[in-house]
Assembly symmetry: D2
Homo-oligomer: 219 residues x 4
Amino acid sequence: MSEMPNRTVLLTGFAPFGGETCNPSWDAVQALDGETIEGHRIVARWLPVEFGASLVALRQAIHELAPSLVICVGQAGGRAQISLERVAINVDDARIPDNTGAQPVDEPIAQDGPAAYFTGLPIKAMLAALRAAGIPAEISQTAGTYVCNHVFYGLMHALRNVPAVRGGFVHIPYAPAQAALHPGAPSLPPSVVSDGLRLAVAVALTVERDARIAAGATH
Amino acid sequence: MSEMPNRTVLLTGFAPFGGETCNPSWDAVQALDGETIEGHRIVARWLPVEFGASLVALRQAIHELAPSLVICVGQAGGRAQISLERVAINVDDARIPDNTGAQPVDEPIAQDGPAAYFTGLPIKAMLAALRAAGIPAEISQTAGTYVCNHVFYGLMHALRNVPAVRGGFVHIPYAPAQAALHPGAPSLPPSVVSDGLRLAVAVALTVERDARIAAGATH
Amino acid sequence: MSEMPNRTVLLTGFAPFGGETCNPSWDAVQALDGETIEGHRIVARWLPVEFGASLVALRQAIHELAPSLVICVGQAGGRAQISLERVAINVDDARIPDNTGAQPVDEPIAQDGPAAYFTGLPIKAMLAALRAAGIPAEISQTAGTYVCNHVFYGLMHALRNVPAVRGGFVHIPYAPAQAALHPGAPSLPPSVVSDGLRLAVAVALTVERDARIAAGATH
Amino acid sequence: MSEMPNRTVLLTGFAPFGGETCNPSWDAVQALDGETIEGHRIVARWLPVEFGASLVALRQAIHELAPSLVICVGQAGGRAQISLERVAINVDDARIPDNTGAQPVDEPIAQDGPAAYFTGLPIKAMLAALRAAGIPAEISQTAGTYVCNHVFYGLMHALRNVPAVRGGFVHIPYAPAQAALHPGAPSLPPSVVSDGLRLAVAVALTVERDARIAAGATH
């Protein structure tokens, strides 16, 4: 990140994991690849569901593209709405192994990093824009402790001294075809998610100061 | 119902209720109005969210159209998948008033009717077809005790001596635009629901004997 | 049931099933065995989690004891409150095998029985009494399609011509010790459940006509 | 905290809030007041549900008592198990006003504090001990953004340079009497919670190095 960020937006999606054959996060960002939003070119990149290697790939893509905005997207099977993540925490605690079989428990992501980073995205303004457009969205107070949080924390750690580049993380529900195999599970079609991400990118590129909207949790 | 049923399928949707400005059940069935499925013409009709009047309108439509298949569709805000209802029970117990302000408590729908009717639809075959098509669906063991169950019970009561006509009820989730106003609520787009209903109608018109698939609940 | 019912209350609980090592329904009713409530002696009996055999045991106990009130109690792992069941339906649809390995799918419980029976208990009055006593309780619109519903339906079928005997079914949550093995699962201690059942029995023995309290479900 | 910590454990509970007439966190810690656990005297203190004032009261109690262990306890209405909180974040975002009417949105708790602090408690060892004792418990990845998180963050901030003193936060479910007013809500009796806290305190006083047990969340 020695160079000036250019008019590129990096969106990342993940490989399938946990027994799934697809990952809607990749489908959703891939659909936006090559589009232009607010004068910025969208580039979609794929990340493996692996502790460590996911961050290597992410940092490589950032180095190569020098984007001015990075939004990493991941699947949150069981959640019902697009989740704008507020905070990444400095711990890996894997309930299930990653795609290489690694299962770290209570290990820091960055040995000397702080306990957490807040998102660099204007998530309240994004929330308002998505809801106004009829797209179900919510603020999430935790991105978990698996590869998604790992990538989110690693992203914010990589950008900690690069104030010109905004970054953050968005969780999305199962696609309907996945939910069809999980009785009772909620879902959103990739097209709805793509519309939501398009809007989220536009807000992140144009809203300097975040909106002041209560969207916290009592616990 | 003195005449022979003809090659018509009646689909009903409801008016908005409970503070909503639309009802996705009407959007979903209206989209199919006029289509032809398995040689049958689809006719969509609108029902009020009113104890009593909803059934008058339903019986009128059945009398007028003499359909060979009737599927009533209703909104189940909070459910995540298309719910194929198994059973209608002979009781109104309204947690909230209907659109005229009526709020019956523990009153029978048909004074001399049986405690319940099972659906006339091959819901297990429908379930299998929907899931195979990647559309999230489930069997539901209760349609509640509000206007949806009222219409479902009234439908089965009206058809009790008309074995040539199949009938049943399907609950659907909020549309995404509704869920955008209900933090955390699941949703399905009307287009996915319409695809699901199209498939459900095709199965109901062609599958004589229901499939034998375990889809019960331990409680 | 040729004899007059006497001043006995039969409470039944179940054997463990589904991998559990205990069943809180048995613990809860066993704790009341031998007590006297409103001049009636409580007798607790144990039922196997088996389609068929559970009903044989239940009918035998009814024949032997000639109770004036029968409440069957079962575990509903995942539910959070004491569930007063409204209706039993005439179908077995087992998601998991019973304790003998039997797994009926969409088979009637009573070949010539009606689709459903409503409970014989004053469940709204019971609900009000439990809540007033600070015991979490709710009306449930479905008892599922497993052995609990099987026993509930069989009970009401056995009592269909015996108006002097009241019967019904109550589902209860996991005990805390069970929930400790199910991350996130709700529970209630057997002592709270026993207090609730004691109260429920007292109401069933003294309230002739049920209360009129809205406690239905919109779906 | 200029003095050496002595053999005292400070447990705090909260005032009622959000329309409740009691707060089970206060009932649970009050029950332990004056007990001795592992040679330490338990002192229970009450905190107001107020941004700011809650922390003033907490710091005062710490100054006065010089405890070697501080566990703050709060109500998480809707959760089903005892929640051992992993992390406190540096933000107030109040969905509902506190008991003085204050409703901060996205304001830092400590102006120059880090984004988050991890708990100082051996929560995995506590989790194992609670489950082994048959008490339902779980690790929570978020304490929300309301007064509970405010107190948790403020506690860890106050203890940041005092390695001899362990601190952390535990969320607990509604008491049954509260859940009786919230249809479907889970609960745990104060006696079960008190047993759990007693055990948690004993573990925190005796286990130096936390256990290595996977208890994370994929999202």
